[in-house]
Amino acid sequence: MEKQQLLSEISQAATAGIVTQNEVLGAYEKGSSGVLPQQEDAKHLGLSGVMYYIGGAVIFLGISVLLFQNWDNFNTFTKIASTFGVAVAAYLVGILMEKYEEYRSVSQVFFLISALVSPVGLYVILDKLGLDVSTASVGVLVFLILTAIYLASFYLYRRTIFTLFSIIFGTILFHYVVGWIVGESLSSDNLVKVFEYRVLAIGLMYLCLGYYFKETSQKALTGVLYAFGSLGFLGAALALGGWQPNQNVFWELIYPLLVFGVIFLSIPLKSKSFLTFGSLFLIGYILKLTGEYFTEGLGWPLALVLSGLVIMVVGYYAVKINKKYLTTIS
């Protein structure tokens, strides 16, 4: 990059209020003192990193095909060795590689393989111990063990992959605990409501976690958590509104506040996910309201024309917010 171009871009960013004088000076001081900013973000994954992960995915696929083709021929020991054994072996290889700087990227792939295979391994062990693995209580046990292991691994090694799988396993654990408590106590209508509240709670939890990670070494997860969080939160809130004649007035009335809240939060949080999902769910909400309340009075074609116009307005402002405040956010 040319010096003049760099200085010009800094000037433009300062005009837009994206960088402050202190931030520019801080970056200059860091560079002049020889401390280079860390580039371990998942966003800046190099070609070799991509190849590692593709290799890891192929290994996982190979294990899956091997198990699928030969499952009935395996005895108990082989079944446990080919699932739980593989998970433990991959984890240990990951730990050994993690100790060397040059193999650190590859170690992530082994941790990934271990995380993908270990739930299957634990289910196989519990099945062979005679437990009914289709029950929610066994699901609670499996994912409680996995969440604890991955939280402990994060505490020991501070790698983002452990945080990611702690969140994934923790989410599944939450689903199973709720399922365990609910059991057979509720009717199918109420089960659907509980499911929607579960997704709402998880969405909100992801948004809080994403915000917390923003200022920590795990900031690579913020974008993913914001995306899944806003998707889950707004999707569940829209579903909770129901459909005429069984609509829930509380959720239908509060939904515009939630969706505009998410859109406006995209500016201070500098999140494109908030803007994208906020705009998409606002469009969804407009279409839902049109379908629910305005098709009979106005007629379906006119309702569609009006909702199309409103959607165009939403799209225009979404693009405007994106250009004005979020263009430099990747």
Binding site: A136, G139, F174, V177, V178, G179, G183, E184, M205, C208
Partner: protein
């Protein structure tokens, strides 16, 4: 004193915990201290629509024989000609006691879906698998009431057609 920086993390952790606690309280509190008292009678085995029917009339179970099929084969004994097996479910001890039809006829039964103390006999809802599972099981039967459900130890006898079905006959009065 809570560090303000950790507030989002604490909030994130507390959301699922609060939901679990609220859900558990709303499900278990209403049924606290309540136990089912009324036994019921059920039939298993051959109880499909073409077999014997067992309606409860004036508090007593009746047996209606199946109509003979037009395309009957004289050499073959059809499933529909085999009567069902009867059990009285003892809700206090959670056991099924086998009964002959004569013994069932001597009992005074109520065919109402709900017992006088607010319980129903229902099949599992089938929700129970990864990743959004409850604890359900479509092949199990439950005694439900007051927001609680307990799994019944019913005898699901196979019919000649391998039906593992259950027919609720009535509550013992």
């Amino acid at each position: 004193m809570i560090n303000k920086k950790n507030l989002p993390l604490l909030l994130a952790m507390s959301i699922p915990v609060v939901m679990i606690v609220v859900l558990a309280l709303s499900i278990y509190l209403p049924g606290m201290g309540k136990q089912p008292k009324q036994d019921f009678v059920y039939a298993t085995g051959n109880i499909d629509y073409s077999g014997y029917q067992y309606p409860v009339v004036n508090g007593q179970v009746q047996q209606i024989e199946p109509r003979p099929l037009k395309m009957d084969f004289p050499d073959q004994k059809f499933a529909s000609s085999v009567p069902a097996n009867f059990y009285r479910y003892d809700v206090k001890n959670n056991t099924s006691i086998s009964l002959q039809f004569d013994a069932v006829q001597k009992l005074r039964l109520s065919p109402s879906i709900e017992s006088s103390d607010g319980y129903t006999v229902e099949r599992g809802n089938g929700e129970g698998n990864f990743p959004f599972g409850g604890g359900g099981d479509y092949n199990s039967w439950f005694l439900k009431g007051h927001n609680r459900a307990s799994k019944l130890k019913v005898k699901l006898d196979s019919s000649p057609y391998n039906y593992t079905n259950l027919q609720f006959i009535g509550w013992v009065e």
